[in-house]
């Protein structure tokens, strides 16, 4: 591939000086980056079948475009290995779907971060972590794929903190927010299968996550007790909206639910039915709005939507549930959507393959 000389920065052959140069250009998330040397970018590009100038995503307001090449440059800077690149490409293809609204979720005062959930064999193939310390540090693939997502939002789409990223407080996931779905011991179909992809095809799901809430329950021994505590977190006064939810069940919690024979659908329905606040409570805290109640209780209301209550989400399908984390500990988590309604809807794409491409 010929070099685009207008996009090349010649710097002294000193890695530390090059890292400082990247800082000076405003290309980092505050942490040092791997200088995007030409050779490493080309190695990254070898993992994508389309030409470097192919467009993956377009910012709806500024029309700034993410090309395969720009994605590869930022992936190098984040510290990715080339085999991680298909996940990043698929993630931005998913984020480019209008329903995800990556402009709004990134620019908003809400301070969300795109959560990436990688499902299927590709996660294992590239050494992703679905196990102990799931959301914590220590795994290169998880950490750098999530970081590349942020660097692309910053460098390509110019979502700059304080300028076009107006997060009031942000959240730590804005550095990196990427996990793998745990397949080992998972009693339910993996997300990639539920999403309808053929056997052997992995997927990435993107979700505009508004934070992270640990759900601790070491005393519950029934699905109702475990999921009841999850529902309580989902419906806390600070979080309850009509937005979607992600729930990652710890293996210890999942075992209790699965041993009782509960399916994913039954768990979703339980959570939807129980993650609710009364109109009186919503009014008391100043969050009640007729328009939101009417949206949930109108002609197309889900049968589990109870009169006089605001539930989290519009239907049980608004709650993504799967398993992740280490074997020990009664610690699941709930991640609220940034969107208070339908402003951002989670999306997914297959990794490394083209299905029904135009």
């Amino acid at each position: 591939m010929p070099l685009d000389v207008n996009r090349i920065h010649d710097v002294p052959a000193d890695v530390l000086a090059a890292i400082d140069y990247c800082y000076e250009q405003g290309w980092t998330d505050g942490l040092p980056v791997v200088p995007p040397v030409v050779e490493r970018v080309h190695a990254m590009l070898a993992y994508e079948g389309r030409p470097p100038e192919a467009v993956i995503a377009t910012h709806p307001a500024t029309t700034l475009q993410l090309t395969v090449h720009a994605a590869a440059v930022n992936a190098v800077m984040a510290g990715c290995l080339p085999e991680y690149f298909p996940v990043i490409v698929a993630a931005f293809e998913a984020m480019d779907k209008p329903g995800f609204n990556f402009h709004g979720s990134t620019a908003s005062t809400g301070g969300s971060a795109p959560l990436l959930i990688v499902s299927g064999g590709y996660a294992d193939a590239i050494g992703m972590n679905a196990d102990v310390n799931l959301f914590g540090p220590g795994n290169r693939a998880n950490a750098t794929i999530g970081r590349a997502t942020r660097l692309i939002l910053r460098n390509v789409f110019q979502m700059i903190p304080g300028i076009s990223d107006k997060s009031t407080q942000g959240n730590p996931g804005k550095y990196s927010f990427c996990i793998a779905e745990r397949a080992r011991g998972n009693p339910w179909p993996l997300l990639c299968a539920e999403q309808g992809y053929p056997d052997g095809v992995s997927s990435v799901t993107v979700f505009a996550g508004g934070g992270f809430c640990n759900v601790e329950n070491h005393g519950g021994n029934t699905p109702e007790q475990i999921l009841g505590s999850v529902a309580g977190a989902m419906a806390n006064d600070g979080c309850i909206t009509l937005g979607q939810s992600v729930v990652i069940l710890a293996p210890e919690h999942m075992r209790i639910i699965a041993d009782a024979g509960w399916s994913r659908q039954r768990a979703q329905e339980f959570l939807f039915a129980h993650a609710k606040r009364s109109v009186a409570e919503m009014t008391r805290i100043g969050k009640y709005r007729d328009v939101e109640y009417d949206k949930q209780h109108g002609p197309e209301a889900h049968p589990l939507a109870e009169a006089g209550y605001l539930h989290r989400g519009l239907t049980p399908d608004d709650i993504l549930i799967t398993m992740g984390g280490g074997d020990a500990g009664g610690h699941s988590c709930f991640i609220p959507s940034w969107s208070r309604g339908r402003g951002s809807i989670m999306q997914h794409k297959p990794i490394g393959v083209c299905i029904d491409c135009a």
Binding site: V73, L151, N155, V156
Partner: protein, 92 residues
């Protein structure tokens, strides 16, 4: 050492401002509200000032279905055809 630039090299949209109105007197105002709490009320308060001070007429309210996404192009095209100027802003 040669580094690739990580910023976008994609084509950017050509932007231009509409010509300023020579006068506000008697002009037709459109309101583009974003659906957030109090948006309509706040924007009407602003529009009422133009009615009182310049004899403007409030023609219609255009509603965005998604507060955080750009207004649909057909909404903007309709507004451009129907009003002389548009008032918009965040309400929350």
């Amino acid at each position: 050492m040669q580094l690739y630039d990580p910023t976008s090299s994609g084509a950017e949209r050509a932007l231009s401002r509409a010509a300023a109105l020579a006068s506000l007197e008697g002009k037709t105002i459109g309101i583009l509200e974003n659906g957030k709490l109090n948006a309509v009320e706040m924007l009407h308060e602003v529009a009422d000032l133009f009615v009182q001070r310049h004899g403007c007429v409030i023609r219609t309210v255009y509603s965005k279905s998604n507060a955080s996404a750009p207004a649909p192009s057909d909404t903007l095209a309709k507004a451009a055809a129907e009003v002389d100027f548009l008032i918009t802003g965040l309400g929350d």
